[in-house]
């Protein structure tokens, strides 16, 4: 009696089985594609990484050089990148400038030329910048030095990406 109630016809059995198996196969194909499609969304946070660079106690009014490194994946090649920041304090404010000359990308140094004390100086084409990074008119650079996003946590200075000041 109960056998009759639960009886499944050959056709029904095949339909269920095929739908079931087909469904699994379709899911197997579609899910990875969906995962790849949303992947950039899931990774969005990775670019805004902050790196511990210096201790607040070490900072002075005079810009000082601090190096920091991190892993960078460039297409298929992973490498360790070392970046530099010129960091100084201005009252309670902490300013971190990128050493990359805004002209053609040489590395600038603080107070490096005797003729121009208390300025950032680029040895390549004699570009100059004020302490706050402003480019000095009459020298090749056309915009101020880029400024790092800074954050202070427990007495340590963390730097993010360097962003244009204008």
């Amino acid at each position: 009696m109960s056998e009759k109630k639960h009886n499944v016809s050959r056709r029904q059995f095949l339909t269920y089985t095929l739908t079931g198996v087909g469904g699994f196969m379709a899911a197997g194909v579609i899910l990875p594609m969906a995962r790849f499609a949303v992947d950039p969304v899931l990774k969005a946070g990775a670019e805004s990484d902050m790196y511990a660079v210096a201790e607040v106690a070490d900072l002075t009014e005079e810009p000082q050089r601090f190096d920091f490194s991190y892993e960078q994946v460039d297409a298929w090649y992973q490498s360790e990148v070392t970046e530099t920041a010129w960091i100084y304090r201005e009252g309670d404010n902490i300013v971190a400038l990128s050493p990359t000359c805004t002209h053609l990308g040489c590395t600038v140094n603080w107070d490096a030329n005797e003729d121009y004390p208390d300025q950032f100086f680029c040895p390549c084409h004699f570009g100059r910048f004020e302490k706050d990074g402003t480019n000095i008119a009459g020298t090749p650079p056309t915009e101020p030095l880029h400024k790092y996003v800074t954050e202070v946590r427990d007495g340590t200075v963390y730097l993010g990406t360097a962003e244009p000041q204008i």
Partner: protein, 152 residues
């Protein structure tokens, strides 16, 4: 500027500012001096990469000029002169040859460019932080050389 298509685009646009070619001279051996050749390559590459970073806006880093270590350096002279000549035609007024092979010192006078010989430091088994320290020390010696050359 590195030897990449991206940097080359910038170079072609800003040619009047990029007047220095950095040309590494790389001895190659497949027999006895293979290991030394590799050490030299490793050291010179790290050094030139750092120089390119410091002087990106004025210096173009060329692919290395390779030659067989067992051939006398004199035999390379005519070829290197051709490289220098073509680089000058291309608009580079300062050519800096950089190598760890002391052989070039003997023919320095016949070269129409500045030869920088850096005795190599073997990087084998060295920690990264120590390598960086070595390179930055060497850089400190090289910086004045370059600025001097530009002020000539």
């Amino acid at each position: 500027m590195k030897w990449t298509a991206d940097d080359m685009t910038v170079f072609l646009r800003e040619k009047q500012y990029i007047d220095t070619l950095l040309l590494p001279l790389q001895p190659v051996s497949f027999t006895n001096e293979m290991k030394q050749s590799a050490s030299m390559q490793e050291f010179v590459e790290a050094l030139t990469r750092e120089m390119e970073k410091q002087f990106k806006g004025r210096v173009m880093l060329s692919p290395a000029f390779p030659y067989l270590k067992q051939e006398p350096v004199e035999e390379q002279l005519p070829k290197i002169q051709k490289w220098i000549q073509e680089a000058k035609e291309g608009g580079f007024s300062h050519i800096i040859l950089i190598t760890s092979d002391a052989g070039w010192k003997q023919v320095e006078k016949s070269i129409d460019g500045m030869l920088v010989w850096m005795p190599f430091v073997p990087f084998e088994n060295l920690e990264n932080s120590y390598k960086k320290q070595i390179i930055s020390e060497q850089m400190k010696q090289l910086l004045p050389l370059l600025t001097m050359k530009w002020n000539e």
